[in-house]
């Protein structure tokens, strides 16, 4: 009991409750001092949520070292589990090891995946047949909106998990450049996710994850907690990106030039550049709606009060929000998929026993996607009422994204061509990822040309398209990565039979779901509706999509069962079961507290499979200079 109460997360949650009460009390006091009635739900709840979230971070101990620094105290970097506590407790509190933080990110991401997936199961059941079965429109809207944003949070956490765990290992570094910032980067997600989920309770919201005003300006109060939660999750992206860029640029092992980095590191570098420079815009756009609702600053309010007209104000612009929002939220798509595409490129050579075909082209294609991604946001707004002078250039720039994406596909195919392929579970998921991302990618250009998009926009075709890009670009590669590095993280083998069962359920299930969504979209099914017209003739299609969705959900449960039971089993994994050349596979599993007892030196190319006697990473002899302290 004592141990549990001392956990960072428990202390944080208690502090959050206290902070929320303080924040709410503060507003009530100010209101009373100003001679207003004590209670008005929205400002009181919003300020309470904000103070509570900060309370959680303080209570968990995220800022403790920095507070000590302001008092002039030094705090040596702590290694290993907290003194006198069992080893598992470090995963429930603030810990500075990138390996612990990586696991924290990944597990939290999977938990949110379960939450968001369960919401989808509920409304998929509703949508299995036309007519309203059991879900009223308001609840459906809240579930659908929460499904979207919680999945996005889950993906961002999954990306953070892979980045934090793998990048320092892959470049032969002892840890991330800023371990304390790294811990903060993870922990801000906790109140972020809690606020979004709390938003479902305090009225829910009906805006989808895009939160367009004026609808979001008049939505139920839950929308405010959704906005605040996203703000915190976005902060995590920015902090994580700073850390990753500095780590990658400054902490690589001797001999690891940029073009000798594992390809996943390139993908994460490109991802981090987007996160660092674009995330502010979604934070800004959401904050502006928060302020519009709380303080009446009508940024996006097209109506003018009489006073405002006398003062010569110009009306707010609803479409402005969409520009700000999509300037982040389109590049965000590449934040979700670039790491996954990096995983595909990373794993294919290992299981094909052949060098990655066109390494530099793949590395540069990630950078190209990241950069072009900043110029394409307008394609979400082709029917929003923007000028043709904006629609046409945005169409050209959007279509350009197909070029670097094509380079990746062709290079992957060339990598497996004439290889010696083996098919354990991670490789199966990589191949599934390519096939699913192919559907997602190929269904993109019809959305990118303006005239066809005027038909496809806001239909289920788009739903099918982006679920295919998300599953092919993130979910399948993420699962591949989980299986692939599971022996490294836990030191145990996973169950290969269950892994393959997961694959054989999920891949056909997903194909059916995604192609089904595209098909009913073309027949007239709109996005984000609780009920549809039986005259569209899509009842059968909807039923099949629901069944496919449940098959996917079931297969994910099989994976969790597999991972949990395997981690507790006694079957010890070899240190390098995949015969990989990457540095993290040259050290014991599970990885000791100090990853590299002897510094890594890079002496060759990362993917030189098939070249006898070649080595990528070599451990320097004991006692060589440059050893970590």
């Amino acid at each position: 009991m004592r141990t549990v109460l001392a956990l960072g997360i428990v202390k944080g949650l208690i502090a959050q409750i206290i902070g929320t009460a303080l924040g709410m009390g503060l507003v009530i006091v100010i209101r009373l001092l100003g001679g207003r009635p004590a209670w008005e739900a929205e400002p009181i709840v919003v300020v309470g949520a904000l103070v509570g979230a900060i309370g959680l971070l303080i209570g968990a101990g995220v800022f403790s070292d920095w507070f000590k620094w302001t008092r002039g105290e030094e705090t040596p970097m702590r290694h290993g589990p907290p003194e006198g506590k069992p080893a598992w407790t470090r995963y429930f509190g603030v810990d500075y090891s990138h390996k612990v933080i990586g696991v924290q990110y990944t597990v939290t991401g999977i938990l949110l995946l379960l939450v968001a997936g369960s919401l989808a199961m509920v409304f998929r059941l509703e949508l299995a047949h036309s007519g309203i079965q059991f879900l009223d429109a308001a609840t459906y809207n809240t579930y659908m909106s929460a499904h979207g944003i919680v999945m996005i949070a889950s993906i961002l956490l999954g990306v953070g998990g892979m980045a934090n765990y793998l990048v320092p290992l892959m470049i032969g570094a002892s840890d991330m450049a800023f371990p304390r910032l790294n811990a903060l980067g993870y922990w801000v997600n906790v109140p972020g996710a809690l606020l979004v989920l709390a938003g479902m309770v305090v009225g829910g919201w009906n805006t989808g994850w895009t939160g367009y005003p004026p609808l979001s300006a008049q939505a139920p109060m839950g929308v405010q907690l959704f906005f605040l939660g996203v703000y915190f999750i976005g902060l995590s992206s920015i902090l994580g990106a700073v850390n990753l860029i500095v780590t990658t640029l400054r902490m690589r092992a001797p001999g690891m030039t940029l073009f000798r980095m594992p390809i996943f590191v390139w993908a994460m570098l490109a991802t981090s550049i987007i996160q660092l420079t674009a995330t502010q815009l979604i934070g800004l756009s959401f904050l502006m709606v928060v302020v519009q609702r709380l303080l009446g600053m009508g940024f996006f309010d097209p109506s003018l009060t009489n006073e405002a007209i006398i003062l010569g104000s110009t009306p707010g612009a609803p479409v402005l929000f969409q520009h700000l929002f999509w300037f982040y939220s389109h590049p965000a798509v590449y934040v979700f998929v670039l790491p996954g595409l990096g995983i595909i490129s990373e794993l294919l050579p290992v299981f094909a026993r052949k060098p990655l075909f066109g390494y530099k082209w793949i590395a540069m294609s990630s950078m190209a996607i990241a950069l072009v991604g900043f110029l394409v946001w307008g394609h979400h707004m082709f029917v929003a009422g923007i000028e043709s002078s904006l629609r046409v250039p945005m169409m050209f720039s959007t279509m350009l994204v197909a070029v670097p994406t094509g380079v990746k596909f062709f290079s992957w195919v060339a990598t497996i061509w004439q290889g010696k392929l083996s098919f354990p579970t991670p490789m199966l998921f990589v191949l599934a990822a390519i096939s699913v991302f192919l559907i997602g990618g190929l269904s993109g250009p019809p959305n990118a040309t303006v005239s066809t998009d005027m038909f496809l926009h806001d239909t289920y075709w788009v739903v099918g398209h982006f679920h295919a890009t998300m599953f092919g670009g993130f979910v399948f590669p993420f699962f591949a990565a989980v299986y692939y590095w599971f022996p490294k993280v836990t030191g145990r083998k996973y169950n290969e039979t269950l892994g393959k069962l997961h694959f054989w359920l999920m891949t056909p299930g997903f194909w059916l779901q995604s192609l089904g969504q595209m098909r009913i979209g073309l027949l007239g099914m709109r996005r984000r509706i609780v009920d549809y017209d039986p005259a569209l003739g899509i009842d059968t299609g909807q039923l099949l999509i629901t069944i496919a969705g449940f098959v996917i959900a079931f297969s994910v449960l099989i994976m969790l069962y597999n991972l949990i039971t395997s981690a507790r089993s006694q079957e010890v994994a070899e240190s390098n079961p995949w015969r990989s050349r990457s540095p993290e596979w040259q050290i014991p599993s599970p990885i000791p507290e100090e990853s590299y007892a002897r510094p890594v030196v890079i002496v060759g190319e990362p993917y030189d499979y098939g070249l006898p006697g070649s080595v990528y990473a070599r451990m320097s002899p004991v006692g060589a200079s440059g050893a970590p302290e």
Binding site: A138, P302, K354, P355, W361
Partner: protein, 336 residues
């Protein structure tokens, strides 16, 4: 080399099969506008390219999986090939040319389907939660159903009174958002007579799914007859008849059904004279006074199970006589 010949043949065969499959699957609903026919042509071209690229990648993958799988007991590596710059350049430049070509086609088509024709008819579309209203300035007609003459280009001028909506008739293909505070435009030339539905395509709140309106594309003569009927001097409607017209044009029926079906607001069928349970636990008799108050100040008494989403603006936009007519109409629906 032998591998490449086999794969090339397979790619050709699979492309043919996929193309045939997609074309015979009837992917699109019937098309009913000139703009839609153009959109369908470009979409068809997209589908052909998709069929080819899909087959190209999948055949190469499946062939590799089958032919280049590791033989049992073979622990050796594959060939040490790092890449081929000429190939990389080729598969960068060829897709680049393809996407530029498609963008060019898309730009040209956009110019075509947004071009004005000299005899186009303007229809003003006003969207509100959760109903549509159509004004024909040429004739001075307002309608809750959209009647269109076949073969004449329509310039829709769209706006919204509350949140963003989107005007979409799947058979016309093209869609356009209706944005509060500004006017957006969309051009459609109906080519097939028949009845269609406008389906709001932009999430607009609780009743989004039910924000539909009927579209009738008519022979020009029938359309003229409808216009004549609408514009002919008529004995002005009074009482419940006037109320029914107001309910249509003000969008009341977007939320309140008159046939008992469930929408965002309570149905009006059989409402009058009943005891209505309220959100605060009390109940109220639905009489004239209650109905009038609910129209003018919707937040005053909220019916249980129907969160208040009704605009509070009707006290400004409706005259006293109009409110009375609406009450009269609701009353008439109560007398079963």
């Amino acid at each position: 080399m032998r591998h490449f010949i086999i794969v090339a043949v397979l790619v050709a065969i699979v492309t043919a099969i996929v193309t045939f499959g997609l074309e015979s699957a009837q992917l699109l609903p019937p098309v009913a506008s000139a703009e839609g026919q153009q959109v369908d042509r470009l979409f068809g071209l997209h589908i052909q390219v998709i069929a080819f690229l899909f087959s190209l990648i999948v055949v190469f993958m499946v062939y590799s999986i089958v032919v280049f799988r590791r033989k049992r007991g073979d622990t050796g590596d594959g060939a040490n090939i790092h890449g081929n710059t000429k190939l990389e350049i080729a598969w960068t430049v060829a897709p680049l040319a393809a996407v530029l070509f498609f963008s060019f086609l898309g730009a040209r088509q956009l110019a075509d389907i947004t071009a004005a024709s000299p005899d186009e008819m303007v229809i003003e579309v006003t969207a509100q939660q959760f109903a549509w209203r159509f004004d024909y300035p040429e004739y001075g007609i307002s309608s809750a159903e959209l009647n269109l003459p076949q073969g004449r280009q329509i310039l829709f001028k769209l706006t919204a009174t509350d949140v963003i909506h989107s005007f979409w008739v799947p058979e016309f293909r093209v869609k356009q958002d209706a944005v509060p505070g500004k006017t957006t435009t969309l051009r459609v030339t109906p080519t097939e007579t028949g009845q269609y539905k406008i389906r709001c395509a932009e999430l607009c709140g609780t009743g989004h799914h039910s924000m539909l309106a009927t579209v009738n594309v008519m022979q020009p003569a029938d359309f003229e007859a409808w216009v004549a009927q609408q514009t002919a001097p008529q004995p002005s409607a009074t009482g419940s008849e006037l109320g029914a017209q107001i309910a249509q044009l003000q969008g009341c029926i977007g939320c309140h059904s008159v046939d008992g079906s469930q929408r965002v607001g309570p149905t009006w069928l059989g409402l009058y004279g009943t005891q209505e349970a309220l959100e605060d636990g009390s109940s109220v008799l639905v009489d004239e006074e209650y109905l009038q108050q609910s129209i003018l100040d919707p937040a005053a008494q909220i019916t249980k199970g129907f969160p208040n989403v009704m605009p509070p603006t009707y006290k400004d936009s409706l005259s006293q006589e109009e409110v009375a007519a609406l009450v009269e109409y609701i009353k008439s629906l109560g007398e079963e």
